[in-house]
């Protein structure tokens, strides 16, 4: 019965199949959030068909991947959304999907409530409309709250409220927890990443060093708040946070995008981290045989962090946060709690930040009343 550290090392060498598989169903979105990880907006004409999607679910079931995290884009925009979800559930693959809530009216809420093994995350990025709408667009907070009301009225049960932590909402942590409590919901906090369109707002929105310390202490006191292992870079501050506290990219985590491309994690939709496509030889072949994934499962090089006593706590932080801020994989995380990331960034003589590839952002402003 090996110790915990052995298990963590095992995870870093990769598993037979992912634990956490994210599947972005579509790049189409009726919103245009400034920090969108997948630069979503326009539907990709090449996105997986209904038949391809259900075949992919059958393969996921055969690989004993217990649940998928469905996102987008706005997944409920797909006309076959319920077909796909219900097929997954019928194959005993649980579904957790992230939505902006705009498509959850009373009827949709009742249908969702009647489906087993289904979990919903509704996104807001602040405890009030002013804060949240600044990131997600005018009117979006109220729309999300109406979706929450519908789920509550339909007795859906404990859904999740998902919040990306920014400089403007760290001070609202208690209010966010109170909001979740009021709905009998679970609060889920994730890290802002400079991925997708997030690269444009990272400098202005990522929490300050002091806010990250406050967040860490707040999370330590609340082990029931979900984080998806998002803040393991903060575990270098002391006691580790809940979770595996490792970068799972290509090891226990990966992402399938709307056109079937497989990326190492949900935060690296970029050619550099493209492992293959499910249309070629299926998802399993990509997971087990991709050269990229194999290299990610090799023992990591601690690089600049080798001499830091906290390397074992944070393992150098988030690959995506480094990549999209122009750092090397062997550099510290840009939000390294000891400030080494800021030093590394300052040392770059010319700051080169990779731009998102692909980019499905709309070229024209979004009309937020449009459905």
């Amino acid at each position: 019965m090996g110790a915990e550290i052995t298990l963590r090392d095992r995870f870093e060498r990769g598993l037979a199949a992912p634990i956490c598989l994210t599947w972005e169903l579509t790049y189409a979105c009726n919103l245009a959030c400034t920090h969108c990880l997948s630069s979503s907006g326009r539907r990709d004409p090449n996105e997986l068909s209904t038949d391809e999607a259900t075949a992919l679910i059958d393969e996921i079931a055969a690989m004993k991947i217990f649940y998928v995290n469905i996102g987008g884009g706005e997944p409920m925009i797909r006309r076959d959304f319920f077909t796909i979800v219900e097929h997954a559930v019928s194959r005993h693959v649980g579904v957790k999907f992230s939505t902006n809530g705009t498509r959850i009216d009373a009827a949709a809420a009742r249908r969702l409530a009647s489906t087993d093994y289904l979990d919903i995350q509704i996104s807001i990025d602040g405890a009030d409309a002013l804060t949240s709408d600044a990131v997600r667009g005018a009117g979006t907070y109220d729309q999300a709250r109406r979706a929450m009301d519908h789920l509550r009225d339909a007795n859906f049960g404990p859904f999740k409220i998902s919040v990306v932590m920014t400089r403007h909402n760290v001070e609202q942590l208690d209010d966010l927890a109170a909001l979740a409590d009021a709905y009998g919901a679970e609060l889920r906090l994730t890290r802002l990443r400079p991925s997708g369109r997030g690269v444009d707002v990272w400098d202005a929105l990522h929490p300050t060093a002091q806010q990250n310390r406050d967040l860490y202490r707040w999370l330590l006191d609340r082990p029931n708040v979900l984080t998806g292992d998002s803040f393991f870079h903060l575990s270098a501050l002391g006691e580790p946070l809940e979770g595996l506290n490792l970068c799972g990219a290509g090891r226990v985590v990966c992402l399938i995008d709307p056109v079937g491309n497989v990326y190492a994690c949900p935060f690296v939709i970029h050619d550099e981290f493209l492992a293959g496509n499910v249309r070629d030889r299926g998802f399993g072949a990509v997971w087990t045989e991709s050269e990229l994934f194999r290299s990610l499962r090799e023992p990591g090089n601690p690089g600049a962090c080798a001499s830091c006593g906290s390397y074992d706590a944070c393992r150098g932080g988030c690959m995506a946060a480094k990549f999209f801020t122009g750092l090397e994989m062997t550099d510290p995380d840009p939000e390294c709690v000891f400030g080494h990331g800021e030093t590394a960034l300052a040392a770059k003589r010319v700051e080169i930040r990779p731009s998102p590839s692909p980019d499905h952002s709309r070229r024209t402003p979004v009309s937020l009343s449009a459905k």
Partner: protein, 93 residues
Amino acid sequence: MSLAPPVTFDAHAPWQLSAEVSLRDEAFGALAYHHGNRRLVFLKSPALVDIVRDLEKYPTAKDAIGAHVASSQRGAYERALASLARSEIIHGR
């Protein structure tokens, strides 16, 4: 947020793997996922996986453990099963 009543694990009682749980073998042991409470649990040794799978074949949990591991290790495996009972991965039968 532990709302369920505490489960007491009695190694002298009959146990079984929950029908709501799926197991996936891994090099370290297995992943166990409870579709109802959405708990993901790691079974950290292949012997523990064998014990969990075989629980229903034995009159007591102790017998299932005895069939798979040496007596010096049995205490650790009883504690592991107690933990799985709390997560509802296994239940009495």
